[in-house]
């Protein structure tokens, strides 16, 4: 990936200019550092400006602006970890948070003393460059963008109910300091659009609920090309309703499009490879994992199954340069040529496994405790052209995209129902297939792959995990992948 090189280029830009007062962070940290038996103290100050506009059937239905700021203190003692936060920033607040976090850490009474993997102190600043700052765009600019999008949808002539578009952009400025000497200032702007459309034809319906998202400025909306993509999607759904035929249940070769490969990478590779799940930290909410620590190095898929998570992909929705423990982000090879290779770690889980953190600690915002999260998870590209991948499929299905999906909490049994699918006959696309269902185990999915195409595509999503649940900006992605002889319903 070229992400690492571009990241360095971004980091050479002038220092971030958010309004956060470092002195408050450092004084708060100083207070925490004076405590006995401290393993680590962290202080994060954050500010966030957000704008949100909703357009329904071409008309504004909601305009929201929000300016938020706050701070948190996290303290690790041998007895436990405490985390306290508030939507206020002041020296007095910092002092209160130190006391609260300390009390919580002392009261933990852990049987296994808390330990954190060592990390070097980092002093840096990073930001994501915006060619066109979203904060400089007016509400009218946003509105015309969405109205043009709605116009493009209505021009298709497809009967669509809903036509609900939500555009949200925000900037997060942050200052992080820890008792080991790390000082990191950052500025991360993101922009995302969600659309809800219900296509109706001949009394039948097909839903399209989509999200696009990037880090960066307004220029990212041009890259999405939604004025072309969305009309195509709705015309496609009309064809699926009118021309689609049901798939006769049975065994087929299945080609999964990038969106389906991406959701599988996220759900049945990314999540089960989170070390906090593997250790049971999420056992009562997002669940555990079918993967146990001793499965590292064991086979889970075919030699063509390589899944990477890389938070440093430039412009990606899940981009970050340093995680919320101040650890530098880097690509993680999760499944490597079919082998369970590397778990997602924060400093605490890394210590339990005797390894270094790989920079996976993220929090949705300052009020929440950082936990182990994904960034941009995708199936690694292979060496097939897209059309080559159909080449020797005699009878199969291309599941290009999905609608309903779910997976059990140990991440072993998953289901994907197609939104866009086609029959493949003698290596050629042969007409739309309606709502075909893949219900398969995790080794069943990754073990059946025998070809992967070259072209990588990403989708944006909000991943839910933690308690209270934290929505995390991520990308899922992949090229086309071919699965041999899987059962479709």
């Amino acid at each position: 990936m070229s992400g690492g090189r571009l990241l360095e280029e971004m980091m050479m830009r002038p220092p971030v200019t958010c309004m956060i007062d470092e002195d408050i962070a450092l004084r708060t940290l100083g207070e925490a550092e004076s405590k006995e038996s401290l393993i680590l103290a962290e202080v994060r100050l954050e500010e966030r400006d957000m704008r949100h506009i909703t357009v329904k059937e071409g008309q504004v239905s909601s305009v929201i602006t929000s300016k938020d700021m706050g701070m948190n203190v996290r303290i690790a003692l041998p007895t436990g970890i405490g985390f306290a936060s508030a939507n206020r920033i002041s020296k007095l607040e910092g002092s209160k948070l130190v006391q609260a976090a300390l009390r919580q850490a002392k009261g933990g009474k852990r049987r296994t003393p808390v330990a954190l993997a060592p990390e070097p102190a980092v002093k840096t600043s990073w930001e994501v460059y915006q060619k066109h700052k979203t904060a400089d765009m007016s509400t009218d600019d946003r509105l015309s963008y969405l109205r043009e999008l709605d116009k493009a949808v209505t021009k298709t002539g497809v009967k669509v109910q809903g036509r609900l578009f939500e555009l949200r952009d925000y900037e997060i400025g942050s200052y992080f300091a820890n008792s080991e000497g790390s000082r990191i200032r950052s500025f991360l702007p993101r922009i995302t659009l969600e659309s809800s459309n219900m296509v109706i034809s001949g009394g039948e319906t097909a839903q399209s609920i989509r999200q696009w998202g990037s880090s960066g400025g307004w220029e990212r909306t041009h890259e999405w090309a939604l004025h072309e993509v969305l009309p195509q999607e709705l015309k496609m759904l009309k064809r699926q309703i009118e021309k689609g035929k049901g798939v006769k249940p049975g065994q087929y070769d299945l080609v999964c499009g990038p969106e389906v490969a991406g959701i599988a990478a996220h759900e049945s590779c990314g999540h089960p490879m989170e070390a906090d799940r593997i250790l049971g930290r999420e056992m009562s909410q997002a669940g555990r994992s079918f993967i146990s620590p001793d499965m590292q190095g064991k086979r889970i898929g075919s030699e063509y199954a390589t899944v990477i998570d890389d938070p440093t992909v430039p412009g990606s929705y899940g981009y970050y340069a340093y995680d919320h423990e101040g650890v530098k982000a880097r690509p993680r090879y999760l499944y490597k040529s079919g082998i369970i290779n590397e778990f997602f770690h924060n400093r605490e889980t890394a210590s339990r496994f005797g390894v270094q953190s790989n920079g996976s600690s993220r929090a949705e915002f300052y009020l929440r405790e950082p936990i182990v999260r994904m960034g941009n998870t995708f199936v690694a590209p292979g060496d097939f052209e897209d059309d080559e991948i159909f080449g020797d499929v005699k009878e199969g299905v291309l599941m290009h995209s999905f609608t309903e999906w779910n997976i059990d909490d140990k991440r072993y049994n998953q289901k994907y129902v197609s939104r866009e699918a086609y029959f493949i006959k003698e290596g050629e696309i042969a007409g739309p297939a309606k709502k075909c269902v893949l219900e398969i185990t995790t080794p069943g999915f990754w073990g059946a792959i025998d070809a992967v195409s070259k072209k990588l595509e990403f989708s944006a999503a909000e991943c839910g995990k933690g308690d209270p649940i934290q929505a995390m900006a991520v990308n899922t992605g992949g090229p086309m992948v071919r699965l041999r002889k899987v059962v479709l319903k």
């Binding site: 949100h52 909703t54 329904k56 504004v60 239905s61 909601s62 305009v63 929201i64 602006t65 929000s66 300016k67 938020d68 700021m69 706050g70 436990g80 970890i81 405490g82 985390f83 306290a84 936060s85 508030a86 939507n87 919580q104 009261g107 933990g108 852990r110 049987r111 109910q161 809903g162 036509r163 939500e166 219900m198 109706i200 319906t205 839903q207 609920i209 049971g280 930290r281 056992m283 009562s284 909410q285 929440r368 405790e369 609608t403 309903e404 779910n406 997976i407 059990d408 072993y412 049994n413 289901k415 219900e439 398969i440 185990t441 069943g444 839910g464 308690d467 649940i469 899987v486 319903k489």
Partner: protein, 448 residues
């Protein structure tokens, strides 16, 4: 510090003087303490405090909402907000805000919850109880919440509200694939049944031991309140008029029609004592008991003022927040405390009356192929117990309920007389009071 409703009234006054026609200010002050436990020990303790004002202003049909969090600078933020609203685009579907001479029920929070210093004793009680039933690994969360709100509007709203909640969720394992989950949610600390929730989770985990691969086919399913809580999560959202309006609901054009069996009556009742009891909706309208489904017939959608105007009806006092929360749409009318009215069955009788079925403790990840028709699937988790000839004969695993939500509700043929308040994570949410149901001949699938 002034009362929150006075702060809200002051801000409404400023906005009015700046030229806003409609104004709502809802001020909130909340404190949350969370104890997370896993592997039978406390692994993290979090606490957070929030103070903010959610403000909605309309200048004619030009509307703008904002989340004001700089509490030391509210007056100038409100002036700026009204100025920006005057330049905002017109919201042609805007139907005004609730107005009237409102009367509110007094709400008081249990001081025992508000003043609790160290709630970890309840966590240890639940772990011990689960282990004494045979579990060997226990995890969960205990939330202690205290929230105060004050609301004022140009429509005549002026009120305060206060709530406190203790919410315990316990998941117990007796084997890696044998678990049970239980909750105890209460607005009175003296009613927090930590030991009972732990024991129930532990007992279910033991019953779930040695699960066999689940079978595909049609089964009668008996679902516990926790499972039903997840079903309610999606059912209530589809009854929100906003989702009906955008075509994302199987309840469109179903008012007055049968959407469930005659055994089913669903209400939304934020007036009863519960952890989601509240005095007013987000427009300041006093909350009330709304019958949504009566003996299987759909009576109303959930409405705020704007959706009610669009549907030519009256608000049900379910106006949602102007600032969207996780995975919601701004202003979406929302259920506050759904209740499925109890029936006349004992849970044991439902089991003994079932020839071939599955007893399901909990579920998650309910997703739809098509919201307008209701095709969905959900993945049972925790105890999945097999029933043959009225007896529990063992446990199963790796199944999915793949059916249609309208069909699910129409297939309910037994409702327990006992109910339980449940709230768990983002699944059994919002908090609800629910019985156990039997649903006939649901389609069960599994991985091939």
């Amino acid at each position: 510090m002034s009362e929150l409703k006075d702060i809200a009234a002051h801000l409404v006054d400023i906005a009015g003087r700046e030229g806003a026609d409609d104004v709502i200010a809802e001020a909130t002050d909340s404190r949350t303490h969370l104890v997370r436990f896993s592997n039978s020990e406390i692994d993290a303790v979090n606490s957070w405090e929030e103070s903010y004002v959610q403000m909605f202003v309309a200048v004619g049909k030009r509307t703008l909402a904002s989340d004001l969090r700089d509490m030391g600078n509210l007056d100038s933020l409100v002036r700026a907000l009204v100025s920006s609203a005057g330049r905002a685009p017109e919201n042609k579907g805007y139907g005004g805000i609730a107005s009237g001479r409102f009367k509110y029920r007094p709400c008081r929070a249990d001081r025992a919850i508000v003043n609790i210093k160290d709630p970890s004793k309840h966590v240890h009680d639940s772990i011990s109880a689960a282990e004494s039933e045979g579990a060997d690994n226990v995890g969960g969360t205990l939330y202690i919440r205290h929230t105060r709100t004050g609301i004022a509007s140009t429509g005549g709203a002026l009120a305060s509200d206060e709530s406190a909640a203790a919410e315990l969720s316990v998941r117990a394992f007796s084997q890696p694939e044998a678990s049970g989950q239980a909750v105890s949610c209460t607005s009175r600390l003296s009613s927090l049944a930590a030991g009972r929730a732990g024991a129930r989770a532990g007992e279910l985990s033991v019953k779930a031991k040695d699960p066999v691969q689940g079978e595909q086919g049609k089964f009668d399913i008996i679902i516990e309140p926790l499972f039903l809580g997840s079903v309610m999560h999606s059912t209530m959202r589809r009854m929100s008029a906003l989702y009906v309006d955008i075509g994302m609901s199987m309840y469109a054009k179903k008012i007055g029609k049968k959407v469930a069996s005659k055994e089913v009556t669903i209400v939304d009742d934020p007036t009863i004592p519960s952890i989601s009891q509240r005095a007013f909706d987000h427009e300041g309208m006093p909350t009330r008991r709304n019958v949504l489904v009566k003996d299987g017939v759909l009576k109303t959608y959930l409405h705020g003022t704007s959706t009610a105007k669009r549907f030519k009806t009256k608000s049900t006092a379910n106006a949602g927040t102007f600032i969207p929360t996780l995975f919601t749409i701004p202003t979406e009318p929302t259920a506050f405390h759904p209740v499925v009215e109890p029936g006349d069955w004992k849970t044991d009788e439902i089991i003994s009356d079932t020839k071939r079925g599955l007893y399901l403790n909990n579920t998650w990840y309910t997703r739809y192929q098509d919201y307008s028709t209701g095709e969905f699937s959900t993945i049972p988790r925790d105890a999945i117990l097999r029933i043959e000839d009225g007896e529990i004969v063992g446990a199963a695993k790796n199944i999915r309920v793949s059916d249609n939500m309208l069909n699910l509700w129409k297939s309910v043929d037994a409702v327990s007389r006992s109910s339980e308040e449940v709230f768990w994570w983002d699944e059994a949410s919002p908090p609800s009071t629910l019985p156990t149901l039997r649903i006939r001949q649901m389609n069960i699938t599994r991985s091939s």
